[in-house]
Amino acid sequence: MQDVNQIRKDFPMLNGKMMNGYPLVYLDNAATTFKPQSVIDAVVKYYTDETCNAHRGDYELSAMVSDAYEAGRQAIADLIHCESKEVIFTSGASGSLNLVAYGYGRKYLKEGDVILSTEAEHASNILPWFKVAEETGAVIEYIPLDEEGRLTVENFKKVLTDKVKVVTFASVTNVLGYIAPVKEICKLAHEVGAVVVVDGAQAVPHVAVNVKDEDIDFLAFSGHKMCGPTGVGVLYGKYELLEITDPFMLGGGSNARFDICGNILLKKPPFKFEAGTPAIEAVLGLHEAVKYLQKVGFDYIEKREKELRDYLVSKMQELDHIILYNANADTGIVTFNVKDVFAQDAASYLNTKGICVRSGTHCAKILVNVLETSETLRASLYFYNTFEECDALVEALKTTTVENCIGIFF
């Protein structure tokens, strides 16, 4: 059994920081997460004791860093159950999703082909496909969400035709926090020859993911949402798909040979996708983050988030002036509004109590049609949050009124 107080000691950001005279209560983990000391140490160690480029130079230091970089790749492969050559390091989930859209989608989609997605997607997983559709003549169609905003197999079947070439969706949505039935969707999509792109930015940090078992074709996620550094993310792709996917960028490190006539011989995946010097320290830090999460254990992480979430939701349901949009969600995302208070006003008020929540449309701007509200507040929990922090939010919500929101300016 894990002790949350022990866990919190690993995170400098959780060591008694104050905000506006109150203990800092960080509930914006869907945006980014805090880093344990081991991750910070790995980043600092690279700059203090190990600085040099990876994959370059015939000297010991470079070989050491190259090995450490590749060990990071292996750690990611073990985490999501694939081979290390199927792991591409990118700048983040957005970089990964753009790579699939431009390197695969733009190359293979044709006029009349269908890209299936949902109205709950983050901008990073819909805007690149808008562009692909515009350039190829493919069309984007949306899988209808059910009344709670969930992606269901039943609704997916209704819109799946043999014209569908790409199916792309978040396996955990960033606004509503539902877990999508990935395995079933992959199976059905493959039956019509479609490729499945999964935005795992909100999934990989919170639930165990197995790309082989679920038969996912492409999976994108970010390092910084799973206790790792910013500036690094991952694109997993089945190796045979990576072989036929074009790189997004060309440059040093991605080619094996090139000549003055413009002939380029690219390296094999994953290296053909990693032109230029990567965020080496971020990969080393991400490796430590993976180790940390595995030490804590995904069983614990899932269980803990669910307990916190159920507690927070039950307390919020006792308040008459709180509107909950996803009371039945599967992960630590709680999306709500305070009746008659504009979300941004409420977020500013909560900030004066030391509480960090997000207001807005959370980069999923077309979802407003489903929620029928222009903006919401979002509290997103991680395993290091506490019941006391949930209480602090609930107490502050009790006094969240328009008058008090204006009162913060006086």
Partner: protein, 149 residues
């Protein structure tokens, strides 16, 4: 300056009032008006501002859209302040308002009810809310002067 405008309780009520019952809060969509869409890049404030000018005079200013308390109330007060002023007077008031938001010395008399936003600048993330309507009107003012060149 009225003593009332020094009382925080009154200032709060001014903001509250303009938020709940915004003035000039309906667009005309008329050809006689210039119009601008202001969508904040950092938050959801998303408003349209319309203004009608006659030679050197601000005849009417209107707005509509979705915005927070500060965005709505500051735009509502701005419309009241601008209507009936000359363009030059309008520009002076706008400049004083920006000075206040920026934490510099400013002319309280000119700003009237807009002094209610004197502390908004202390919360950097809300400065855009307090200026979105003002910047929209300023764009229309610039546009109207271009037309006459």
């Amino acid at each position: 300056m009225s003593e009332l405008l020094k009382n925080p309780q009154i200032l709060r009520e001014i903001i509250m009032d303009h938020y709940q019952y915004p003035h000039n809060h309906e667009l005309t969509h008329s050809d006689e008006y210039l119009s601008v869409h202001m969508a904040s890049e950092s938050c959801i404030d998303d408003i349209h501002v319309e203004a009608k000018f006659d030679a050197n005079k601000v005849v009417d200013v209107r707005f509509d859209g979705v915005a927070c308390t500060i965005g709505t109330a500051s735009t509502s007060i701005m419309t009241e302040l601008m209507i009936g002023k000359t363009k030059e007077e309008a520009r002076t008031i706008i400049a004083e308002y920006y000075k206040m938001i920026d934490g510099q010395a400013y002319d309280e008399e000119l700003l009237e009810e807009a002094v209610a936003f004197q502390n908004v600048g202390k919360q950097a993330n809300r400065i855009k809310c307090a200026t979105i309507g003002w910047k929209g009107f300023e764009e229309l003012l610039n546009e109207s002067e271009k037309e006459h060149e």
